[in-house]
Symmetry: C2
Subunit: 290 residues, 2 copies
Amino acid sequence: MERLIGVDIGGTRTRVGAVWEGQILARRTFPTRGLVEVKEAVAEVLREVGWERPDAIGVGAPAPMDMRQGLILNAPNLPHWNGVNVVDGLKEAFHCPVFLGNDANCAAVGELVYGWKAKDFLYVTWSTGIGGGVVSGGRVIWGVTGQAGEIGHIPLRPEGPRCRCGKKGCLEAIAGGAALSDRALERLGERLSAAELVEQARKGKPIPLALIDEACQAMGQALAIVAELLEPEMIIFGGGLTNSWDFLGPKVVEAMRAMSRLRPRVELTRLGDDVGLLGAAALPFHFPEL
Amino acid sequence: MERLIGVDIGGTRTRVGAVWEGQILARRTFPTRGLVEVKEAVAEVLREVGWERPDAIGVGAPAPMDMRQGLILNAPNLPHWNGVNVVDGLKEAFHCPVFLGNDANCAAVGELVYGWKAKDFLYVTWSTGIGGGVVSGGRVIWGVTGQAGEIGHIPLRPEGPRCRCGKKGCLEAIAGGAALSDRALERLGERLSAAELVEQARKGKPIPLALIDEACQAMGQALAIVAELLEPEMIIFGGGLTNSWDFLGPKVVEAMRAMSRLRPRVELTRLGDDVGLLGAAALPFHFPEL
């Protein structure tokens, strides 16, 4: 398999690319809508690189899904995709194998195939929400139906704040960008983005600093839990909040080290904003038997 | 490989058995001492079953170890084994491949090969301490140097009680048998075993009941964390505290379900007290490349 198409469906943007040996030869980025727009973009990049037919298409999305059936399920952030069988839709249009996976698991595949190429690692997307993917012994941990890797929803504070998943005290409800923004509104009376909150914390403002410290403690605790449980070689971060990594990273690593006897390296993704797209393209190499 | 020897070195007892297709054909159980006693027991069971030479020997021990070198390291509970290269010692005596693994990981191998035979599960030893082993996609998660699976040392309460590993608020420091016994001494002024504490809790005595409920909450939280992270099909329990499973099990499962969207089955080991011995014997089938 050489001529691969990656489709990274995000809450805001969709990225489509033609990938050959880890290089993106042609790409389209556009506001996320539905299957029609993705088909158009795939056709466009195929024309641009002069491939008649791709060898495979991989799709990543941030939604609950049925990987076996290729179905995107009740996706609150992706209204045009609710109940869509993206695998059947693209197979029909492009006559090649199509694979669907959770976006954070796709990112882990991207790091495995094209990025750090470690064999034992946790990938963490730290953004509005928090997602994850686990690789062990060079294989992705998919879990029994493909839902593994949900580090954002591990329960850290059973009596903590309500998470949008319905549970309480998930990592995401403490350290996710949306949760930080909610906390800012409650505590400061103004809605700040997570990035703005970080800027205020950098200036030493007490409430923003306390919120950011709490988030980094929770993230460090989650990494320490994964370290004890899986003994990864590395932990790799991507996502919007890593733009403030110079400030957040040392706090997270310090918290992790205080809570685990193990010392995985902590690094940023080597694939930047393309980690999801490249991971989706590489999904055919690591698709599970479920 | 058909003629296997399993060696299960416990803090109190050592079990040695000759295993053929999952059946223990001959066995010895004796108070744990050192390498000399293990060699004698292996020679005895070999004579009893009439094997000149085993195809392989697998050894499980509850200590920090160097799996690559076959070395048992600073084992506080195993003074005769401190720094002993058990792999070299047994290879020399019996002229066959020898494998060393953590006891809880061995138990997971035992369930995989001879027990429930699930492909995605967490094995938990709930005893004086708490150990674990993770199997995903039919393969044991060893981690980068073979130290994975330490569910007993995931940090649940960063400000919680000191654990014997040196950290604070590990699952083992809240729910392990030794920790429960320590808590009983602090809160009731008498040293009770974990089993005795459970009996008092059954009778509805308030402090024992509160301590047991807290332990079950912590265990349930740990299982919920593993469920979100790895999406196992099953969670399998063994170890001394499972003798009170009728009382503890429902509390643990209820706590897990309150904290995770996923619903792994929770079961007891199918191999009883032999899970460690059978798992050690099966270690050659699942030994990692580290």
